[in-house]
Symmetry: C2
Subunit: 363 residues, 2 copies
């Protein structure tokens, strides 16, 4: 992947942490330096970083920065609580913090700083490895589509940003695209704008453009029309949470694209690391609560003015009530397959259990 | 309907024409006065007025203003051409202009001004009557839904603006809602934002709010999730063009909502005057060309700044390619029924031919 930026990295000084401030994208490109645990809390809370894997890595480095300041048990616990409270529902955040706890708490304080930096780097590196494995498996699907119709680029539709910007690697849903593109397979990505928060327009379009991957931004309303006219070869989306039976919870609107794919015989894949699978539930529509967020996320949008300033404006009338649902659930029956670090599996309980026998029996 | 504005009306002076400038909605409410044919051309071309029926009425009044200035044949022909060229693909525009031609051209010039004003008023009034008839028939569906579940308001999802603002009456898709609301049936409307041009946020939310009809603005991505959870009792959309077999061409994204309605057993209706039916084609997906428009309609949005100014901003990176498709086609198999001025019919060729025997045989 031709990537000339990093979502998170250690600075030259060997201890401070540099993150890309994603709230400023796509119009401004600025890194921010995290120098203590509170900076890391701010980075997560104010969404300079977003995407479950990247939030986890940022929290891990937050603990490292805390241990550098004071490696005591009590300081660790304070850091844990602060970091954990920075975002309400991020599963990966707790996972990363618990990893840091097991790594550090039975060790003497004097060694904790070095151990914490090493484990944080490992968490970031493991995520990079997961992304690459997903990319390799998913790229085979894209290569197969190209072999079936080598007359034109493979058209891939994606929703939201499950991209490099959400991870410490090449992303999840975007990983197959980057890998195929790197293999020389002609690809073209239809990028859903992804209202209400516009992650498609602000993040996915930006990162694909930066990587030189051909793409076109479309309104979220458009995918069905394109599929009716044969303009989509496959869909690849990410997932925030996937049930043991293969129901895929992802950014609101994913379900509508899956329905259109099903209606037009277009394969629909979710790309995700196995850490995203919740083995405790089967029925996603019934059992996954969907977060309702503040209406201003839909009503107020931010972008570039004629004079090159970044500004926010309100779209609907000031007194219009707004309903803002963050995610929806795509039933497994609409999902052609799940692309994980271990390969492409059917979106069924037996298929997932077979591939992840070691993980699915944990609960 | 509690409507305290008019999309188009004759001024007190008895000859100049007042239109609501819809480009300024929802943040500014301003009428503009049309004093000659060129003003009418501007109103149509610059989209102060939009919606097929309202464009037709504006063109008719444009001819009246022309006849007031000069009732000659040659001036009529010039006015016809100017008005017809104001919007490229408005079927109703040609219809209204042809109505004016048949009304005027075989009459002596001295009587044409009065005849033209009378026919223009009639065209507006006929549209109002059509809307009311659609409203009356559609309201029965809403009343029936309320009888089935009187524990809560009837939740109706709509897409784009087929509202009072698009017509000289109470709209097409909104007419059943206004009528039911006027009948005292509790209703609540889910208003799709309708990207790329935000007609839901800018127009439908505005007009429902102004009329006191309970509603909630949602992202276009949201309808499927709401239907999965029983929060939508029926969908009612408008149509720009409907085939003889009942395929419904409407604002892009309509098809996705119809798929979700079908998947969840939610009735899906299109409300339209029979003038919208194109008896010459059956297969909408194959035979209706879909207009591609400039990408800036998606990329650049307009709204209210913190300081109360109306401003425009660009959402994606400046060099992001944008695909902007204006409409899509919902196959008849996904349409529960068509609400017309003559009642609710099935979306099939035999059913439509039976109700419109007089019209369907024209071609």
């Amino acid at each position: 992947v031709n990537r000339d930026y990093q979502t998170i990295a250690l600075e030259q000084d060997g201890w401070s942490v540099r993150v890309l401030d994603q709230t400023l994208l796509p119009h401004l490109f600025e890194y921010r330096i995290l120098r203590d645990c509170d900076d890391s809390v701010t980075a997560i809370r104010d969404m300079w970083v977003r995407g479950a894997p990247l939030i986890g890595a940022t929290a891990a480095y937050g603990v490292a920065l805390a241990m550098r300041a004071d490696p005591s048990d009590s300081f660790f616990e304070t850091a844990y609580e602060k970091l954990f409270s920075a975002r309400p529902t991020a599963v990966n955040l707790r996972w990363a913090l618990d990893q840091m706890r097991s790594c550090l708490m039975d060790k003497p304080p004097s060694g904790r700083e070095a151990l914490a930096y090493a484990r944080a780097a490992e968490i970031a590196s493991e995520d990079d490895t997961l992304c690459s494995a997903i990319g390799r498996h998913g790229a085979e699907l894209i290569a197969a589509a190209y072999r079936r119709n080598p007359e034109r680029p493979v058209n891939i539709l994606t929703h939201c940003n499950a991209g490099a910007l959400a991870t410490c690697g090449m992303g999840t849903a975007t990983a197959p695209v980057y890998t195929a593109h790197g293999d020389g397979i002609p690809v073209h990505v239809w990028v859903d704008e992804t209202r209400p928060r516009n992650q498609g327009a602000a993040l996915t379009a930006w990162e694909l453009g930066r990587a030189g991957v051909p793409h076109t931004l479309i309104a979220d309303n458009t995918g069905g029309h394109l599929m009716q006219h044969g303009e989509v070869d496959l869909c690849i989306v990410g997932s925030d949470r996937t049930t043991a039976a293969g129901d895929v919870c992802n950014k609101i609107g994913t379900y509508l694209k899956a329905l259109a794919a099903h209606d037009n015989g277009v394969p629909f894949y979710a790309a995700l690391p196995s850490t995203t699978i919740d083995w405790t539930i089967d029925d996603g529509v019934a059992d996954i609560p969907i977060e309702k967020r503040h209406g201003d996320e839909l009503a107020v949008v931010s972008g570039l003015t004629d004079t090159g300033q970044v500004a926010s404006i309100r779209l609907p009338p000031v007194d219009t009530p707004v309903g803002n649902y963050a995610f929806d659930v795509t039933p497994a029956r609409l999902v052609t397959g799940i692309i994980t670090e271990r390969g492409v599996t059917k979106a069924t309980k037996p298929a997932l259990q077979e591939v992840f026998a070691d993980l699915s029996k944990q609960d």
